[in-house]
Amino acid sequence: MNEFFSMGGYALFLWPAYAVTLLAIVINVYTARRDLDRARTEARRRLASGATGDASSVATASAVRGQS
């Protein structure tokens, strides 16, 4: 097992490379799902408040843009 983790002496380079990649994979799924949840919540909130396409949407438009 120790032999596996030492990776023939390359552990110091190999494991950080794998960790960085895994981090990117996890973060991109997380942020994508979080953004979708937020967009859904925002849309529901707007539907509930009865907003249409008028002045009230300008404020939310800039708020929503900030998330992307």
Binding site: G8, L14, V20, I27, N28, E42
Partner: protein, 244 residues
Amino acid sequence: MDWTWFHKFGSPPHVYRLAGLLTPWFAWPAALLILGALYGGLVLAPPDYQQGDGFRIIYVHAPSAWLAVMIYAVMATAAGVGLIWRMKVAHAVAASCAGVGAWFTVVSLLTGMLWGKPMWGTYWVWDPRLTAQLILLFLYLGFMGLRASIDDVSRADRASAVLALVGVVNLPIIRYSVEWWNSIHQAPSVMKMDRPSMPFDMLAPLLAMLLGFSLYFGAVLLIRLRAEILRRERNASWIREELT
């Protein structure tokens, strides 16, 4: 010829629903392929005769670099379609690509540095391949920065699409840099005209990773696209049906 299918891809509610249905079909095969390839690459594949176990960095480096380039190609294609046919959904696809592409460009650069240190003796050299990949990162950041700086969505779409299309010249430079110039970076092992220069138990995990990463990007893109469509279609009536 019946063009209904094409018009359906211009319809936000249709694409929103389709993206939701397709996501698991990308996500689950991606997860299985990446996990399988992880085991294959770290345990089953034999050590390289020159690089020992250090070569195993290829299983995260090459797929990340591939994604970085592939995502740019998807982004530029979508941006071009958006420009030519004035298709909003295509612009939404392009906008959804950039963040993920930038992430994996960074990952390819970092994993490349971590591979370069033990093999070349340095984290970084101003080599053609490395420099072109760094320019790719700047193209992604420029695309996102340009979008963020323009308030009007359709103007942001058009301006960023032009930038994306201009940046396409960088893709063949990345691809052929190791052949055109005397590069320190090794030549491709898989995408060669004759046959891959690797034994099967080294190659199989790499191919599985490449496919797994591509499907993973598909899943992330579909989720991001749905969020992007919801934000753009704030006032559309179909959202009411969709969310209640």
